[in-house]
Symmetry: C2
Subunit: 452 residues, 2 copies
């Protein structure tokens, strides 16, 4: 298919002015026929995002507040935008009624209510954008995920589309004469309840649509000119990435690159559809292409990222290595407290498990360490906090020798001690565990070594 | 205690000539009062070790052969040694009767019979050595593990002493006026059955005795002048290690240093008793000291070892990282087939599990891969064979920066691709996974880089 699926993020839809830019972008290419929208973001830092207000509203209701003031604030935000865009419909009233209806329907069930209210942000915005485009003379239709058969399910904590969703989308969205405006971020379970992706999930909606429709390209419109090789807050004018692979992007997302939702890559990857990061505020900028295979590499390393907030659970037990199933017992204990782990480098008689501090709370730490000491008869078990994971990612690494050495030398020369190295499975990245306080320093030193 | 526990290995006791050397060694230091002995080893390569013949005998009986010829061969070997040493007792007859009695008692139970017959090698040799020493005018007494309360148990496949064993040994062996000759390699369960360590386990017996008696030193007499920094078959005249820590030795054992049984270190380590590797054929050589803390380092790296025969089970699954308990499910499947794993480096959406080829047989591989594909809905699951693990070990690494870089550069310069790096838990070693065919080459290149 020659058509383009465009997803516009919250900052691209935060005001009437931004939405006019979106209209112009749609008009500039007649193939831009599928528009996935986020909820309105914030224009000034002090403002709240619609989604944050909706979450606050759900929480207020769960605590027996009516949340009238929040409903008014949210509804009037839509009303103001609609008015500035000369949309005749009273969006304040429309959103007010919509939110009340959702509260009416799901008020008894906090998780369902939260999902339903969060979804209201995108849902109402899609209606508003469709109205606006129609008023501007563009034949546009709001399509609800419900009528398009956009079914999702929660499988072990991961929200995924059902297999039939792809067929449903094709059946309902292909070969239409109008432009489709589709709300991102949520879908429906087969039971008919609203279900949302995690935050930023409109990226996933767009990706699923692009894959289902076999779009020529999935354009993800945001507020940056490109994905950069390193966070622009750390290095002035960093190297922009013109092209990177799905897998490179996935690895970089893991340790902090947040341009895209990490789950947004897979649908387009499977469909082999190029994903283009574009800037709504500077549509002439080339942006960044995310593709299956790169045509060219301009360096061994594509990007460097880092993330704080990890810790290491160390376990030592004499002859651990000869004991079949030891690690399994440790995993079971972690699993009992629903603690996912990130990495598990093992020595001969020792095991280190890298965990996210946010899931390994002090309470859970106490429980886990106590149980390991008691049940597994280990020699020692303790936790080192304050770890950062720093990653150098580059698909060109596969065919190059010596990249690890260069990275390690850069850190060593800078006097940075490496607590942990993982180079293995993916072959397109090297992961270092270092002291949290040295995270940004390490990223800068790696950048200097590979990009200067 | 000022006394020394000496363990003599099979090569130190393979002939009358060797046993005379042992007597001289005992006479040279009056503190050498606890002698742990192996079964006679072989003098010429074509000969069989007694232990191998005993295992063959057990197997013959399990297959309904009487094994008369093997019994004669084993018994006459003892008889010849005793005769050459002018021991008046008829050891051929004595061993013949001993083996028959063991077969009589345990013939119905193959595992028990195997243990009982294997133990006969050390047991009869200890009696022979005690006889010989007494005949030479040295007051020596054979003590059986049974009367000394040398109790062992099998905990999840690892043979360990019971806590009371240490007390029992102290009670029965301390403050004796004679020299104790104690058979290595086996002990007794609380039920009264013979139980053996894995092959080479006399090293463990000596270590447990040394720890129980709080010996000044545990001398392990073998046939090499020292532990070398690298296998002497790979580098001519390699650097001899004069001193290394228990932990360094343990790591080096893991990937191929076989001077000591890997489980022999822990008892002396816990008791903080120095272990001295000595050469029966060259007792004036200083040997190698294995200690808790080194007084001095003569280099960053203490030793380099490598071992072939590993493989990697690769698993890829989109969003594996977000799925709590995924690795646990994989571990459970491995555990169902009693497959221990060595290392488990994980990527973002991938998991690599390093396994020993010897435990991951083609049959098990088929079963495991099929189940992972079917039950865990992964995107891919396959095995890469022919991996070697190469390890650079050095306790000085902890306080040095840049060692990893140097090691990685040495391999890179040599054009060796690194499939896997694990530097983590122990902090005294770096482990590389490389192609099996490059194993010796990699060891040599690392050696050149750190020792030349």
């Amino acid at each position: 298919m020659e058509d383009i699926v465009c997803k516009f993020g919250g900052s691209s839809l935060a005001s009437a002015e931004q939405i006019r830019k979106v209209r112009d972008i749609i008009l500039r290419d007649s193939h831009r026929r599928y528009i996935v929208v986020s909820a309105p973001g914030k224009i000034v830092a002090s403002e709240s995002k619609i989604t944050d207000m909706l979450i606050a509203l759900a929480s207020a209701i769960a605590h027996d507040y009516e949340g009238r003031d929040l409903i008014e604030k949210i509804a009037s935000r839509y009303g103001e935008i609609a008015e500035s865009l000369d949309i005749p419909t009273d969006y304040t009233e429309l959103v007010r009624q919509d939110l009340s209806a959702r509260i009416e329907r799901y008020g008894h069930d906090f998780p369902l209510l939260t999902d339903a209210l969060k979804a209201a942000g995108e849902d109402n915005n899609a209606k508003l954008i469709a109205d606006y485009l129609r008023n501007s003379g563009i034949p546009a239709t709001y399509i609800s995920p419900d009528e398009a058969g956009f079914y999702l399910s929660n499988i072990k904590g991961v929200i995924r589309p059902l297999a039939e969703t792809y067929d449903n989308l094709r059946d309902s969205l292909l070969d239409r004469s109008d432009i489709v405006v589709f709300p991102g971020f949520f879908g429906y379970t087969k039971e008919g309840n609203v279900i949302t992706f995690t935050r930023g999930g409109s990226d996933i909606t767009g990706s699923i649509l692009a894959a289902a429709l076999q779009a020529r390209i999935y354009e993800n419109w945001t507020d940056v000119d490109a994905v950069y090789s390193v966070h622009p807050g750390l290095i002035p004018n960093p190297h922009p990435i013109t092209e990177l692979t799905y897998d490179e992007m996935r690895e970089l997302s893991y340790t902090g690159f947040s341009v895209l939702h990490e789950a947004a890559l897979e649908p387009v990857r499977r469909g082999n559809i190029p994903l283009q990061i574009k800037n709504t505020n500077n549509p002439d900028s080339a942006g960044t292409s995310i593709v299956a295979r790169r045509s060219d590499f301009d360096g061994i390393i594509t990007g460097i990222s880092g993330k704080k907030g990890f810790c290491i659970l160390h376990i030592e037990k004499y002859l651990m290595n000869s004991e079949v199933g030891f690690a399994l017992e440790v995993m079971k204990i972690l699993s009992d407290y629903n603690i996912p782990f990130e990495h598990m480098p093992s020595g001969i008689d020792s095991l280190s498990i890298v965990l996210r501090e946010e899931v390994f709370t002090p309470d859970k730490e106490r429980l886990v360490v106590t149980r390991i000491l008691k049940e597994l008869e280990v020699d020692s078990c303790y936790v080192n906090h304050g770890l950062a994971l720093v990653m150098a990612v580059g698909a060109a690494m596969k065919s190059a020798v010596g990249v690890l050495g260069r990275a390690v030398n850069a850190l060593s020369r800078a006097g940075i001690n490496i607590d942990l190295v993982v180079q293995g499975p993916s072959e397109i990245s090297i992961l270092f565990g270092i002291k949290e306080t040295l995270c940004n320093y390490a990223i800068r030193e790696l950048y200097k070594s590979f990009f200067n």
